[in-house]
Symmetry: C2
Subunit: 230 residues, 2 copies
């Protein structure tokens, strides 16, 4: 039996997995690929294998900011799990990768047939909600270097090696700050030898030290994941 790269699928029973696998299609998702559009029905749900997607909100001034991050530990389309068809946020790939795609209709059917499947996906929805809440905490209370550290750790958790491939520009959208502020903050980490910065990529060198900077702004949803899914 093939082990799934996606940690939600890896946690499912063989029966529940079988319910989903009929509808699965493996897809490549390039950077900037749009998984969900605000207030439009969600047609497909993606169980990420590699790569990272962001859930992003836009305000009235056209400014964007990230409210959630999804990688191999999760899925897009949490709204579908909650019995809904759309959400006010957009979701797109931040770092390219692959995923198993299933139609929202097929997922709904599978969930209605298996309480244990529904249970697991609802648990993930709660973790995702906790992530959004902790993002609110970080945005309200943390300094830029702490928020940057938090984001790097969350991204690091979701990539296979130590390299996070993205530009300062993208990162600035995630954090809701200027591109120049990101450059400066990254430079501070670089000078302390905690990361390596290249054009279009950041390599994590000293994760422990970065965790110290992030402090309690990192780790709450991650602990919930371990508790609820394992």
């Amino acid at each position: 039996m093939v082990k799934h790269l996606n940690r939600l699928l890896a946690a499912l029973s063989a029966d529940d997995l079988a319910l989903l696998e009929l509808g699965f299609e493996k897809v490549d998702l390039e950077r900037r690929y749009v998984l969900e559009t605000p207030n439009k029905a969600v047609d497909n749900v993606y169980f990420m294998e590699t790569g990272v997607a962001s859930v992003v909100a836009v305000n009235g001034r056209g400014e964007r900011i990230e409210v959630g991050l999804i990688g191999c530990e999760g899925m897009s389309g949490v709204t579908v799990v909650m019995g809904n068809h759309r959400s006010p946020h957009s979701t797109y790939m931040q770092i390219g990768g692959t995923a198993l795609c299933i139609s929202a209709a097929d997922l709904r059917t599978a969930m209605s047939q298996s309480p244990s499947l529904q249970r697991l996906l609802l648990h993930f929805a709660q973790i995702f909600m906790t992530q959004a809440a902790q993002t609110a905490v970080a945005n309200g209370r943390a300094k830029l270097d702490e928020r940057l550290a938090r984001w790097l750790l969350m991204a690091h958790d979701r990539v296979s090696d130590d390299e996070v491939q993205l530009t300062h520009e993208f990162l600035s959208v995630m954090l809701g700050v200027r591109r120049a502020s990101v450059t400066t903050a990254l430079d501070a980490l670089k000078k302390r030898g905690l990361i390596e910065v290249r054009r279009g990529g950041i390599t994590v060198l000293d994760r422990d030290a970065i965790e110290k900077i992030a402090g309690s702004f990192y780790g709450v949803p991650e602990a919930e994941f371990r508790r609820l899914i394992g």
Copy 2:
């Protein structure tokens, strides 16, 4: 038949309501009363009638900040609806009031007996999640006056008259800023004639103008509520 003050209960069918009403107990909730404690099992769930409760997170420095607001449109214990027993946040009364209280166990039983009840409560959970996400947006992108306007509007939606009873100190915890910053920001609104400020209370005089200040930082979860629950 008695109409329920709580808007979730008001939206339920007679059958679903009957499932819950056996377990209900009407309770008075004073300001500062704690409904949920971080990482402890949730014993009771409250369908608010009057008053306002806050879901609050604490960071490693002991600073607090609000991630969600609950009034007559909702319930505490969203975590129970998602099939869980606890959450990393605390919930307590911000403005005293009354609620219908039901044990988490009874709520779980009722939900398992009625898919339509589960559906409605899940819809509320999604609205609550949207609120947390929008709080992240506001904390990351909005200026203090915008966030204050947003909070006043959300509180105003949840009280019967135009008076919101709370101190600057409480409000500063909600917004995650200094008490003095709240005083200054309120003063600016007062000078424009949009609110009246008294010791321990704020009266909304010109809601439309306050909505203009809040801009798109207010209204997203409210629209979701209308769409999903009505």
